[in-house]
Symmetry: C2
Amino acid sequence: MNPFATLPELHNHAPYYAVIFSSLRTSGADNDGHAAPDGYGDMAARMVELAAQQDGYLGIESTRGADGFGITVSYWRDEAAIVQWKANAEHLVAQQYGQERWYEHFELRIAKVERAYGKP
Amino acid sequence: MNPFATLPELHNHAPYYAVIFSSLRTSGADNDGHAAPDGYGDMAARMVELAAQQDGYLGIESTRGADGFGITVSYWRDEAAIVQWKANAEHLVAQQYGQERWYEHFELRIAKVERAYGKP
């Protein structure tokens, strides 16, 4: 699977938004996210699937190192779409588990993408 | 080392900027970035060190998975600091190597951070 998000051109469209989610998994967990005993892997995969179904979703990029530190950046059409996704019922359950079990710590930053370029 | 960037509070300060750099390492390389035969590990470490010395630098978060896909987010006071860092002579050499050798593909997005929160 292509790990890069395919996003609209900024030149021809309104700016879009990025949700930058940095997290450190609780220790003892399977940091690859596969069949982790605390259910993290299944829920993480489900959240990626569910996010993609939301209105205003543009794409997602995600990775986690062997040390358990990961970064997921999801891209959205506007702030309203981000607010709606945060309030999604199934996502609220995942957020609760994240707080309680899965993450030692996390930081979430919402940013407006103003410029973009890639390797030609 | 704490993998999280310690950033100024948005409530009391002007918004800051994020440079979201997603990249896929060329195959055959050591994706952990340690002693890679193509010099990537040393240069990546040097760039983190050098970035931290720049005016307007606020912090950095970075990770790469076993599949070679990585995300680095660096944080800056304003767009001028980002432009200056991009034009840094030593950084220009690293950018050249990145284009030619180290990255199969990359995407770079510059975004203004408007809201932020973390796990209490």
